[in-house]
Symmetry: D2
Subunit: 384 residues, 4 copies
């Protein structure tokens, strides 16, 4: 019987955009995937009791806490899901791991490299006693992206020569858009670079199975002052609006990256193209159920980028859902994340992306920041 | 408080493909949309008790029944959701309505026009006592399709001149694919025409706000015998593999329709294009988050089909979900269906598509069958 | 030496749209393709001497005649290229063939089946004495279309099951567009059906290598009266604005066709999709350098419609032009037509499409007209 | 009478790929555009007399010379068209200009900045006596690209914030592809950067109407040794296979550029996207007859990138050719180049792109090379 399976009590911190996405994932994962543990949406934590209670009702959490530290003492919480802004990730995640709770932490792992290193250390300590941790780069788990990784791994595109990745949004093109927390360095750590650039750095490294070794970049803040959210007065924007960089992978591939919130008309466009000696792959999140694949070993008469609808039973994650051709949406990436995490927890295996993977992304972003500050000069990505 | 809202007890009959889709919708609707009634997934009904119990656990239903008639007597069921094959729709839906239960019935409404007429009569009787009914043409509630309807209603494409609609699949191209119930006339009523052609007939009529008045068509069964699902022996395919027809709308537009399960490489491609005197619209379910719109009143120098990402807050349904650019999937069409149905039930308004709308689609399909049987001669669509 | 090659004197009748396209073809063919005969643009024939002379200068013709009969007596004309409206095709082509001149005749072959039959008879008489004839269905010679034909011939898509073809334009959506000759039955013979429908009928038959055996269709004239080109008064539109039909191929495939001048936003969109038991092909003239090919024998994990850029050296015609990825335009279809015709003339082989092919297309259109006149009832395509 | 127009004698140096493209342009320009001077294809110059004669016959040139200096003394040559590899551009162009001949010079203007500066000086000297010069960045004259420029100029996208440009090819992915002159620094000057990167730098500057002020980049040679074309032995590749850089425009926009010959499956893909404060534009040469335009001032409900088919009478160059929807190909960019040049020569106005524009592109490429050599550090683009 399904209900005889052991449960996995979850406590989630934060209930904004990411909180809603994670809730849907926790609620849905076991309905479509055969999970060894049954997620129990035990507690939602938010600073304001009333707001948190309303969110818990709406999102489907049983209890509410207003202090995340309470989660660590509850017996009905075995896993802490961190959905807060980046400035609190380190404190919550480290404490949770040290308290023996598995941790799923939203990206970016932390706002600084030092915090990220401390989190990795905590994850390693915890791992010794069977406690698992994962950082939430959800776009890896778009079926088309997972398929891309699989094809690279199978050697279908040969040796990787080029990577081009961009994450384009336009939500603050209007100079009168307010100065929300994501535009404040002390809360968000970074702007487009850390918020969305982090995603494409992770995607590029995931799909290629390789790591950036050095970068050269620049950043820009186009609108340097914005209305305060309160409606009165204006304040300085202290993060980047856009970041561009070129880089090299350890394996020799060249790469270009771009992250911006000023690409008018591009709402949430994540593009990744990888060219190898034997083939190429291209992905665009605007058509998230498709992967473009060029097989360079084909007869040139019939070679061409093929648009694979990644909805076949044999495709990553797809078989658990609907028949071929019935696509998935944004939210399903989080469901897949939860599925894999729960399976790893049950199996005693280490989830990916690990905190170390998250740190490595931070190190890339850090190198970009250093390069931008130093006249775009080349900066090696530090060893994690 | 959210939980103070009155509940709406649901009993669902059937737990295969459609049952899974509907379950996800019932589970999700209230998490993203502000519903006046809180759906309660009370009972799942399936003929085999063990299978039904397992499905209920997996899909999230509290109780199980093996006879759908039991649903009609339960106080915790106010709405019956019919997800069975078409040959049982009429019996269940009519009994439920007569028992004062609201009904959501999967398409096609029925396997025969007579059954459909009886269902409409039952719906009308029930309506008098405040009982609601809806037929599940879910694709209407793809946000892009709803937006298309809105643009036509606003006059953005002028007078409709052309409609072309197709629903292409390829799941039985292999002549060794087994003779499942969908290929048997006595269970499915019809083949590609009734199963998927029904969807595009409804879409075309919905988007244009008009009705087909006559048709001329043909049908074909390419593979006339298939292996029995048991694995032993072969049996005759008694439904069409493909159907094509041309037609006229009451308002004067010309139309062409195609439904087939033999379009190799087309997994679930629903395409609809509408050309009007002032503009055009085009939709392709393979890119379900997009609507193509040509505004014929634009300066020709900058006129072109625009690819609208239908994920803006102002777009139908989209605002309840994620930020712009974060697309939805197949399953969300069912969630939208449930949201609208629950709101109508609470408001005492009549949901669409109504059973009468479902009957009208049946009448179109019936005219196609008559035309195909009579040398493709023109057949008027009967009045409902 | 190139110049030592024998010449082929050409006389062209008509110098409007088609005349300009053919002139560019005659001028260009030998510059990129190795031709056994060197085309000599000897004479341009137009009814008005001054207009014809100006056209000849602009288009590159040496002499001018005002009566096409003069072409038949000139020793410097071995080939007559007929670019006039359809009502004069039969008279000119038959006289030219009987005078021993090779003939290239624009489509549609004729305005009536009777005329077309007479032209075929003339072509057969002429063939006996080595005189060649070709009808100008230029779209066959888009490299992507020729490649599609080749792939069907090689069995790459298996047995053809479905054909859907449409030719969409919007040039007379405006009800105040004037009553030009193409809208008058006595000059044009037919409207959208004969002008552009003829093209897609030919394309579908060419690519499949099969012939339509029967059809059921309807036609419509949305705007029944238009301003006279003179600017004074209005006159009746005597041809169809749009035509739709379904049909069956001799080999068993189902087909749908549409031709319209009322598809707002579609300027010259020719689409053809062919689904076979082993694969599919799709073409859209708006991306004329591309062919979509789905190979149904591929592993489903990597199967998808591939976008072949038809610019490789091994692709039909492409090798004579530019390096891969440097596309061709509309006009090149005429150049390819001329290249093949000149080679056939030199080799003593029969060009395709032949007049008999042109007649066969007329017979299909004729069956559509008969069906439309008879309540869309099925009409067999007459034997040619 | 057309033939009464004065002629413009042309002498072309070189008859390979570019020679064939230019010949088609000279032959065609006056057939579709109303030119004030009639081009006379007087002399083709090639080092080998027999080869040159054969080329002249094939390409349509009257006379042949084997020494380009002879062109400068011929009275029937008023314009010299330089289609040779880059190492000879400076010598030929400067001598021609000094001899009073107008010059059309293929890109890149020269192999070194010093040569380019000398050419600009010669062009300025010549201009004083009414002698014109133009550098052949043909892609500017794709109608869609010219339309993009027009829309930027009209302020339709507001202030430019982002430019991303790439030119991807794959012709030497195979490590056994031979060491042709384009892979030798002494002939070609540069590799992907100078050959194709130059095009996208020009395009980006042309469309934005702005100039790059600084860059940071890197280059790579993936395959460092290749078979000699003779078939015996191998030699070193002395140019880059790929180049990537980021940069800033004088007006404040950020930019990224990429040029490579190692993008498997990309045959000749030129992409340009420009994001402004009020809209965006995107172009892809694989669909050269289309321009994507996002109008940020639209109601968000109907905003979207619109695919403009750039074939309308009001579009740049398009009106001279075919009706709407009948696209052009690669070669037409050269025809447009010739048309504009001839008109400027006749009008006594200065053609664009000028030699100074060509120099400016060289200065950008030079800054990239310097940056790549200096650890990707920022390099200002020198003033021309």
């Amino acid at each position: 019987m399904t209900q005889a399976r052991p449960g996995l009590g979850v406590g989630m911190v934060g209930h904004a955009f990411m909180g809603a996405a994670h809730s849907q994932a926790w609620r849905t994962a076991g309905r479509f995937f055969d999970l060894p543990l049954t997620p129990d949406m035990a507690v939602l934590c938010g600073r304001n009791a009333d707001t948190a209670r309303a969110a818990a009702d709406r999102l489907g959490w049983r209890d509410v806490e207003t202090d995340w530290k309470e989660l660590l003492t509850r017996d009905d919480v075995q896993l802490v899901d961190v959905c807060t802004p980046g400035d609190t990730h380190a404190a919550i995640a480290i404490a949770a791991l040290d308290a023996g709770k598995h941790v799923l932490c939203e990206k970016p792992l932390a706002n600084t490299v030092d915090e990220a290193r401390a989190m990795v250390a905590a994850a390693q300590r915890a791992q010794a006693s069977g406690v698992r941790s994962m950082v939430g780069f959800n776009y890896r788990r778009v079926p088309a992206v997972s398929l891309a990784r699989r094809l690279v791994e199978q050697g279908r595109i040969g040796e990787v020569r080029h990577v081009r990745a961009s994450y384009l949004q336009d939500w603050i093109v209007d100079p009168e858009a307010p100065l929300v927390w994501r535009l404040q360095a002390e809360r968000a750590g970074s702007g487009a670079l850390g918020d969305i650039g982090a995603h494409v750095v992770d995607l590029a490294q995931f799909v290629t199975g390789d790591r950036l070794s050095g970068v050269s970049g620049l950043t820009e803040t186009f609108v340097r002052e914005r209305p305060l959210p309160s409606g009165e007065g204006r304040g300085p924007v202290t993060v980047d609006d856009a970041a561009l960089f070129v880089g090299r992978f350890a394996g020799g591939a060249l790469a270009s990256f771009e992250a911006t919130r000023f690409a008018t008309g591009r709402k949430n466009q994540i593009r990744l193209e990888v060219n190898g000696s034997a083939g190429s792959l291209a992905f665009d999140f605007e058509q998230m159920n498709e992967l473009q694949f060029f097989d360079g070993t084909e007869d040139p008469d019939v070679a061409g980028f093929r648009r694979i609808l990644v909805t076949e039973p044999g495709h990553p994650y797809a078989g658990a859902w609907w028949p071929p051709g019935h696509g998935l949406g944004y939210e399903h990436t989080f469901t897949h994340e939860v599925v894999d995490l729960v399976r790893d927890v049950a199996a005693g295996s280490d989830p990916v992306p690990s905190f170390a993977d998250g740190l490595q992304v931070q190190l890339v972003l850090d190198a970009v920041v250093r390069s931008a500050a130093a006249g775009s000069g080349w900066q090696a990505v530090e060893e994690s």
